[in-house]
């Protein structure tokens, strides 16, 4: 029973990792850039939700939708202002730029007088409610996380697999110049992808906030999402979720069964093991240069 309980909380935590990982796999799939700003975008999404709900008094559903839309717009704006000019530069420079975005986000949030560096609670309607399934006690917050993640993953998978936009995104990530020649509106697509990734981050933030509370450093959880993406295979959307779940469950179990300290590094040990056993991740592609 204890194990099942751990499993559930591990799955819920893993869903969060998976959602953040989903964000950067989206960006990677479409533009082959790695964004280290997803964690901070998630934090911003949570703060926007906080501001709408607690400060401006919006009703829950309206606040959620508005926060997601606001973040999507922010993502598009970010792409237009900062990412577009540097596409074509080595991948490392772009990574450093996204790290810079993360710094700016953290700094800016501390300057808003209402937020500062304190921890805030997000006033969601299902706060502190629990559900009993068999002998299991599941917090409704965890349940919401799991269901929302499942729904979102299915939606995104369908989009990439079956829609023209999805195929266009993959094309422009492999060879941007060729995509231009084929008439793919690369710039608009990139904007769309970043908007989408930011929206996913906002959802992750709103889902996570009831569990960990809203504070300026909550974006650091995003660092654990990288092992999740790598375990699943960078470039695979279902892989991001599966990787996240694996990391979440391993973390949860090691927190209980292993001595102290292992829980914090569990994610990193798992990713190193994966790189030894299957370097391209569970669902990753094995691409080699053809000469």
């Amino acid at each position: 029973m204890q194990v099942l309980q751990l499993l559930v909380s591990g799955i819920a935590q893993g869903c969060i990792y998976g959602l953040i990982a989903l964000g950067f796999v989206l960006i990677y799939k479409a533009t082959e850039t790695v964004s280290f700003a997803q964690g901070e975008l998630m934090m911003l999404g949570a703060f926007i939700g906080l501001m709408l709900m607690a400060v401006l008094g919006f009703p829950f559903w309206l606040a959620v939708l508005a926060a997601i839309c606001a973040m999507a717009l922010l993502g598009i704006a970010l792409e237009f202002a900062v990412i577009r000019p540097i596409l074509g530069q080595p991948a490392f420079s772009i990574v450093m730029l996204t790290i810079g975005i993360g710094y700016v986000a953290r700094g800016a949030v501390t300057m808003v007088p209402v937020f500062g560096t304190e921890t805030h609670t997000l006033p969601v309607p299902y706060r502190n409610e629990i559900v009993q399934v068999g002998g299991l006690v599941i917090a409704v917050e965890q349940l919401v996380v799991i269901l929302a993640t499942a729904a979102l993953s299915a939606l995104l998978y369908a989009m990439f697999r079956f829609s023209k936009i999805g195929i266009a995104m993959q094309a422009s990530s492999q060879n941007q110049l060729a995509a231009y020649y084929m008439g793919i509106p690369v710039k608009r697509l990139n904007g769309l992808v970043w908007g989408l990734a930011a929206a996913v981050a906002a959802i992750a933030g709103l889902l996570l906030a009831p569990i960990t509370f809203v504070h300026v450093n909550m974006g650091f959880i995003g660092l654990k999402a990288f092992p999740a993406a790598v375990v699943g295979g960078f470039g695979s959307l279902p892989g991001a979720i599966v990787g996240g779940l694996i990391i979440g469950v391993v973390e949860s179990m090691s927190g209980f069964f292993l001595p102290e300290g292992f829980k914090d590094v569990a994610a990193y040990v798992v990713v190193l093991l994966m790189l030894v056993i299957k370097p391209n991740g569970l669902f990753g592609e094995n691409l080699a240069k053809k000469v």
Partner: protein
């Protein structure tokens, strides 16, 4: 404007391109040697930090800028060096020996961290180094019998067979000597076949292999040298800050190091020191600038983070060659005056190509 007319191979092989180089670097060296005389104690300490971070930066530049292997966990090597030095110095080891041991142990850890590099590339390697960074930080925190854990550890003074570097100037000279030696060593590597092999690996691994470059050997070597330099820097860092705790060697330190070499200018040794200077002096500049900012902004704890972020973004967007690049352009302007043409350093419009298929 100076044209160098080359008649001997040595002119290409030498570190100094012409007598002007020798003059200016010589002057710089004289200035640095005389620093304790003309700098206040506070600024001397800052200069010492710049030298220390410069040593680490040179190592990271070798790994990331010249071999193309990006390490997101370099702070870990700093930590290994710092703790090794502290533990051995506390046991009474003379400084040269403990420094060599710190370098050696860091190099060993570097070889282990470099193992994923033999199998994976790009973002996968970066995440592997990130993972190692976290794991090493945790080990430093948990291994309390050796490192003192989160409670911290006091660092004794440098002791070389009786002579102690217990004053600021004497410690500064130790750092200066180590920095000069480390820089010369790396410059020597870069102008020999090993350095060229590193660059080959960065640009085309398949090609490098067909030239007879053993990838595993050179990648591991790059990690080891880079880690050894970070270990040396860490050892000096320990003596400078006098009190260690594991959280100083975590992800934030690693990102600071990367920030340093990107802002300094990837792919140049000058960049490492320029970046170090930036990293150390930025907080002072921010403090100075606080008077001009509105109250809430100036007092926010996140002000430094904000400024760092903005500067980083600005450099990547507008000056990808970093501080060294900006210096090169300035110097070319003076060299060519008044014939400097506005488009001399303009980058070609580049389209993104897939790195997975590189």
């Amino acid at each position: 404007m100076r044209f160098v007319f080359k008649t001997r191979y040595d002119q290409d092989i030498d570190l100094a391109r012409h007598s002007g180089d020798r003059l200016w670097y010589g002057l710089l060296l004289v200035l640095l040697v005389l620093a304790p005389a003309w700098l206040s104690e506070y600024w001397l300490a800052q200069l010492t930090f710049i030298l220390i971070y410069g040593i680490v930066g040179v190592g990271l530049m070798l790994l990331a800028g010249y071999t193309g292997l990006f390490s997101l966990g370099h702070g870990a090597f700093l930590g290994v060096g710092a703790y090794t030095e502290t533990v051995l110095a506390s046991m009474g080891w003379p400084f040269p020996l403990s420094l060599a041991a710190a370098a050696g142990l860091s190099a060993g850890v570097g070889a282990v961290v470099g193992l994923p590099a033999l199998r994976v590339k790009g973002i996968y390697l970066a995440i592997a180094t990130l993972a190692f960074g976290f794991i090493v930080e945790e080990i430093l925190a948990r291994w309390e019998s050796v490192t003192g854990g989160n409670a911290g550890k006091v660092v004794p003074t440098i002791d070389v067979f009786g002579w102690q570097a217990d004053t600021a100037p004497s410690f500064y000279f130790v750092c200066l000597i180590v920095a000069v030696l480390a820089t010369l060593a790396v410059l020597n590597l870069l102008r020999s076949p090993t350095g060229r092999a590193f660059v080959a690996i960065r640009d085309s691994e398949i090609s490098a292999q067909s030239m007879g470059i053993h990838l595993a050997h050179y990648k591991t070597l790059s990690f080891m040298v880079s880690a050894a330099l970070a270990g040396v820097g860490g050892a000096l860092y320990a003596h400078q800050i006098r009190f260690l705790s594991p959280d100083q060697f975590g992800i934030l330190q690693s990102i600071d190091l990367l920030l340093m070499i990107v802002i300094g200018g990837l792919g140049s040794i000058h960049g490492a020191f320029l970046g170090a200077a930036f990293l150390i002096t930025m907080p002072q500049l921010i403090t100075l600038g606080k008077d001009w900012l509105p109250g809430a902004v100036a007092e926010a704890t996140g002000l430094q983070a904000l400024v760092y972020g903005v500067v980083l973004i600005a450099f990547v967007l507008f000056e990808p060659m970093g501080l060294y690049g900006r210096w090169l352009k300035l110097r070319t302007w003076f060299d060519l005056f008044p014939f400097y043409r506005a488009g001399m350093f303009r980058r070609q419009k580049s389209f993104q190509k897939s790195e997975r298929l590189r």
